[in-house]
Subunit: 460 residues, 2 copies
């Protein structure tokens, strides 16, 4: 089988036409390979290559393209070809295609759809962005429990398309209420004369159409499913969700969480596909928010200007001390946010987390504080730096400040995500930089207050 690199090489060497260049081999190329090759071309080139494909191949290749390229391609196709393409996409791919369009384009292309597709697309688009409705595939088969396996197989041969959704079939009663799901392999693994009711196990797991993407990911993982039925509140089967969509959703969600951790508003498209201005705007938003927060450090430092000018030595440890608070806060926030996302922790566990993090913070603070104390003592002892006659008091100030600030950082880092979740705000918003900024400002106050107590009457 030909791999992507071969295709790319051929494209590079021989010109633009994918389809013509492979000759007989072209039937062995997986649609995902075509899509990768098309994705890496200039747009004109991509369009020409796409147009050369037979109509059915176009449909399967189209579903592997990224949604931005999908939009550009459809804009360049004739209404007939665009209509054929959009009507033959699976319903989940169609919904995702439409969801990214502007209102005017959306209504233009919806008019290309036949009545049935038009209705289902409009229905699904009516659900909120974070619900699973956009990913429902309506290509599924419902059987009656009184059929034999042989009858069921004949029915499938007549009506079911050969797609991922066909890995599981559904049994419903006369009213359309879901009774069970059956892996299609069971039709093969049992004798054809058996009745469907005999191979049902009555144990199925379903999603509700209003479920969030997180719930869907969690259920697919918990029950090791490859397809799951989606029902409404009346238990009526609306369609199915397949695991390949769940993989993509999980990956996007992790990407968005990771970007939030890094203090970037989440990019809706990959880094390389995001334009310079969008990228800079999304980064600038958070950087400016953090900068405005961080400006409070200048205010805090301003309050202690008199102390700093009396004991300049205090200023030397400012970056060390506040960054330790920030780092310990980032650690705690990261651990808690991820554990919440994976449902390892729930809000009820806050007291467990709090007790644990106070002890952790204290232990970590003692470790860093001791290293800090030793660092100052050693430099003084070895005459690498002269902290003056009160060096021991300075070292003690640094020690106590580190214990206090690391404890404070750890505690805020672990509690802020829980509080946000309680307020129904995505915990990932309390990104590491956000916690670090908060701890920077409060850390300065802790440091200079401890210094004021310990150094009163000597340096201050």
């Amino acid at each position: 089988m030909l791999q992507f690199n071969d295709i790319r090489k051929k494209v590079k060497n021989k010109g633009f036409s994918i389809f013509s260049m492979f000759g007989k081999d072209r039937y062995k190329i997986h649609p995902a390979e075509f899509a990768s090759a098309i994705d890496s071309m200039s747009f004109d080139h991509a369009l020409l290559s796409f147009m050369e494909l037979p109509y059915d191949t176009q449909v399967s290749v189209f579903s592997y393209l990224n949604v931005l390229l999908q939009h550009k391609l459809v804009r360049s196709l004739s209404p007939q070809r665009a209509g054929y393409l959009l009507n033959h996409l699976s319903s989940d791919d169609r919904t995702v295609f439409f969801s990214g369009l502007s209102v005017s384009e959306r209504s233009k292309y919806i008019s290309y759809l036949d009545e049935k597709n038009k209705k289902s697309t409009q229905d699904f688009l009516g659900y909120p962005k974070n619900s699973i409705a956009w990913h429902i595939d309506t290509n599924f088969t419902v059987l009656s429990k009184d059929m034999t396996i042989a009858e069921a197989s004949a029915h499938l041969r007549a009506f079911q398309k050969d797609t991922e959704a066909a890995n599981v079939i559904y049994v419903a009663d006369e009213a359309g209420k879901l009774l069970d799901d059956i892996q299609v392999r069971r039709l093969v693994l049992n004798v054809p004369t058996m009745k469907i009711s005999e191979i049902m196990d009555g144990s199925f797991v379903s999603l509700n159409v209003t479920d969030t993407k997180e719930t869907a990911i969690h259920k697919f993982k918990a029950y090791d499913r490859v397809v799951m039925p989606v029902i409404n509140d009346d238990n009526l089967l609306l369609g199915v969700i397949t695991i390949d969509d769940i993989m993509d959703i999980a990956e996007q969600k992790d990407t968005s969480d990771i970007q939030k951790f890094g203090g970037v508003e989440d990019l809706d498209y990959p880094y390389v596909k995001t334009g310079f201005f969008t990228l800079t705007r999304k980064r600038a938003t958070w950087l400016v928010i953090l900068f405005l927060g961080e400006m409070l450090t200048a205010t805090a430092m301003g309050h202690f200007e008199a102390e700093i000018s009396k004991a300049v030595v205090l200023a030397l440890f400012v970056p060390l001390i506040i960054s330790s608070g920030g780092n310990s806060g980032s650690q705690a926030a990261t651990l808690i946010i991820r554990a919440l996302a994976l449902k390892e922790l729930t809000l009820k566990d806050w007291w467990f987390v709090m007790r644990r993090e106070i002890f952790s913070g204290f232990t970590l603070g003692m470790i860093l504080g001791s290293i800090g104390f030793l660092r100052i003592s050693l430099w003084q002892y070895l005459h690498w730096f002269n902290y003056g006659e009160h060096w021991a008091l300075i070292a003690t100030t640094v020690f106590c400040s580190l214990v206090g600030i690391v404890m404070w950082g750890t505690l805020s880092g672990s509690m802020i995500p829980i509080v946000l979740k309680k307020c129904k705000i995505d915990p990932a918003t309390s990104s590491a930089p956000f916690v670090a900024t908060l701890v920077d400002v409060t850390g300065l106050v802790i440091y200079f207050s401890i210094a004021a107590v310990i150094l009163k009457g000597t340096l201050l």
Copy 2:
């Protein structure tokens, strides 16, 4: 169907026995529900509940338990029961069970296995941790291309277990070389008299046993597969990998990346299952490394002590300036690391990234610098703070430093992951805190050097 919360409630109200309490309902409970319930119990309670299950249910429930509890359970079972359990697990679950054991326990429990399982387990454990070999399921069926669908179905009914791996069957030649994979649904969707060779499409995607987990995740996503065959260098079929394992692997990988971003050595087990000392040790390691790095800020500040005592006002902006460098560096590192992990970027794109990030950094620096300049001018104008007669020079120093440091932060944040990847080190190691620490130290040098140039002859 009973859900987990009902089970938990019943367990709480009525005592320890899951199996006895559900009566007839128990046959409707999904093994994953049993496993969740058992997972939330005290160990004694979990053991008793587990022992009450029929042997076959034990096997399916066991595979949903977390590996730490699996180990504890097996240690408490008789050799007969443990042997039955371990021999009946699917080969991927078995390999993962053994991989977490100490050497002595490993050889003890391997002796419980029958010859075939012993050999395959030892084979798979011989591959490195990051290869996909540990997740290979050996329960697959190979057919000859000359069979009819009816013959193939009869063969499957006789020899194939009803597991996820049975969703796809394989066609190999006499020598055992893989020719094609066939979704089992195709046996249903085509008439029984057709030959296997007629429903083959000759297009299959396979993994090599030495492939890394990242490659496997990428291929499953790219080709939307639910099962993929694993071959060796001779093209011989060794087994299959199922998508539920890939989902778990992808989630673990993202968790590990997220934890590295947050500056924590990756926890091997969930936060709640990790003991206090392990957790603290893993956090302390990185905190201490970052602290040692950050100590260089004290050294750097020490070098500029004379400047600070002449112009204490300079110290006031230190936290603001270095944190801006750190934040912009974290942003860039996060974006690039994630894009590398998703294979949106490759090493060859370094020049594209570099040009882009220099412009981004410059733009972001100008934005933050301007805000900083305005902040100082405004405070001075409104008499909220007195920066002295040279306030305009101080504001200029802050402006120029921010432009320089944000550019430098952005550039290092984006280039360090690429350099690490080039050196075959996981880019996620250059976590945000790591970049921030680097930028803190160098940022101080940039700030005070710019100050020395601009303020020479006035404040300095």
